[in-house]
């Protein structure tokens, strides 16, 4: 028997376990899936937890529920990967697994300790993240008793997972404080190392306009140098200092420590990966999916979904000794919640930045791109159901995975 080993049973690992169990010859292949955490979190739901728009129990389910029959699931931390010897050592019982093919799907985590003073006195008192379940729930508790003051959000450095989530947080905060009737007592400040609200010119302008319209102040080119939780200030290297009552941080995002430990990562522990084939740059029998890669696409569930369609074809080609023909185009679709039951939608690829228009079909849409609409918001809410019931199970959408320019308007 040959072994197909998958490290990480989050969005990508689970999806691929389901696809592989259908496509690999089960007489010949054993599939093993490893994760240290028993619980699968629907991470897009973390955005809604602080504002009490979702009940906590809506965002998690047991991981085992999504493991297809016949796939072995091992609950353990991973100690070391030795790609030159085709073996992995788990923490539990120091179990050694020899593999024929390896898929890395270990995602990315936040590292507040990378920013001076961030996780000291004020951490989880008036400094919170919302990229973890614990962080989002702690912030929920804080916001309940918050009756006014300055709310500062900071993005420490790029890349971050779901790069639109911080914008959505600001838009939702505006709406939330309005609903509570205290918007006039709250200052909203968005600090980012980017030169505008988002990275790509057309969407940066449009998304920045939404910020301005909502009375949210943007401090661009803000490279955070540290936090002083005695004075409640956050500073930048160019000498700006901003006082906060509540600091919401998107700390440095890094790939799994085991990737770094095993000498397989870049400066941020992301794995150098071929952006078209999703094969590791260094090892032909190592594949990488999702947030763990260094490919220049968004670290988002939608990217995991689209790229899985490419990856499964290439893995099957490789085990059959054929050329890798499938090419991922960097397709990404993001819903951006903007408050008041509305959201915007962006759709882009390696080659084409987010453009206005209609998605997925020209003229009929039904989802308008880069424009606030209630219909888009329904799409975002439906995403939770789609995630649990379709995406994780590796069932293809009735939508083409390739990016299409049809329906989009070129902006001069």
């Amino acid at each position: 028997m040959k072994t197909f080993l998958i490290l990480g049973a989050g969005t990508g690992g689970t999806m691929m376990a389901n696809k592989l169990s259908k496509r690999l010859d089960r007489q010949e292949w054993k599939i093993v899936l490893v994760d240290r955490d028993e619980t699968h979190y629907y991470q897009p739901g973390f955005l809604f937890l602080p504002f009490e728009y979702y009940a906590p129990e809506k965002v998690y389910q047991p991981k085992r529920k999504f493991v297809p029959s016949g796939v072995e699931f091992i609950l353990s931390d991973i100690e070391l990967i030795e790609p030159d010897a085709n073996k992995v050592t788990l923490t539990k019982d120091k179990q050694v697994i020899h593999y024929d093919q390896l898929l890395l799907a270990t995602g990315t985590d936040i590292h507040p300790e990378e920013i001076e003073g961030m996780n000291e006195g004020g951490w989880r008192k008036n400094i919170f993240d919302f990229y973890t379940f614990e962080g989002a729930m702690a912030l929920r508790g804080f916001l309940k008793n918050f009756n006014g003051g300055r709310v500062v959000l900071n993005i420490a450095e790029m890349p971050i997972k779901c790069p639109v989530a911080p914008l959505e947080f600001m838009y939702l905060a505006d709406y939330y404080f309005k609903q509570r009737g205290i918007r006039n007592k709250v200052d909203l400040v968005f600090t980012t190392p980017l030169s505008g609200a988002f990275t790509k010119p057309v969407s940066a302008k449009l998304l920045g306009d939404v910020m301005t319209k909502k009375g949210i102040h943007t401090e661009a080119d803000f490279a955070v140098s540290g936090v002083d939780s005695g004075k409640n200030t956050i500073s930048s290297y160019d000498g700006r200092e901003i006082k906060y009552d509540l600091l919401v941080t998107i700390p440095t995002n890094m790939g799994a420590e085991v990737i770094g430990r095993s000498g397989m990562g870049d400066d941020l522990n992301f794995v150098p990966t071929n952006k078209f084939t999703l094969q590791s740059d260094k090892h032909q029998n190592v594949w990488v999916i999702g947030d763990a890669t260094n490919i220049p696409a968004s670290k988002a569930g939608s990217v995991v979904h689209y790229s899985a369609e490419t990856l499964i074809e290439n893995v099957i080609s490789a085990v059959e000794g054929k050329e890798l023909e499938a090419k991922f185009d960097g397709h990404s679709t993001c819903h951006i919640v903007s408050g008041n039951n509305k959201s915007l939608l962006i759709d882009f690829s390696y080659e084409t930045e987010p453009l206005p228009g209609l998605y997925p079909f020209p003229v009929v849409g039904p989802f308008p791109l880069l424009k606030e609409s209630t219909f888009n918001y329904l799409g975002k809410l439906a995403f939770k159901w789609v995630y649990w019931n379709i995406m994780l199970k590796g069932i293809p959408f009735p939508l083409p995975p390739e990016y299409s320019i049809a329906g989009k308007q070129r902006v001069a």
Binding site: P159, S195, K200
Partner: protein, 100 residues
């Protein structure tokens, strides 16, 4: 007459062809951008050029501070404003691609 007259720049002021870069060009770009290059600036420039030659693009700030003895604070004093962009410009590299 400046060494810059004979080379082409893109709309944002980055050298069109990183291969034509010389130390004189670096000095001239720095002057145009209003920064003085010191021995320490050259640690960053030399590292950036080396990275470009192996990887084909400008290094990130994190890579610079991790792989040289210049820390972020010093980087901001050597290349005020946006050190990532400014160091790339002076090193004759293309504009660093922002991540999405």
């Amino acid at each position: 007459m400046s060494v810059l007259d004979s080379v082409k720049f893109d709309a944002d002021g980055y050298l069109e062809d990183p291969k034509v870069w010389t130390k004189e060009i670096a000095e001239a770009i720095a002057k145009r951008e209003g920064v003085t290059l010191t021995e320490r600036s050259w640690v960053v420039i030399n590292y950036s050029r080396k990275e470009f030659e192996t990887k084909g693009e400008a290094p990130t700030l994190r890579a610079i501070t991790k792989n040289t003895d210049v820390d972020t604070k010093e980087l901001y004093s050597l290349f005020p404003g946006g050190p990532g962009k400014l160091a790339a410009k002076v090193s004759g590299l293309h504009k660093p691609t922002g991540c999405i």
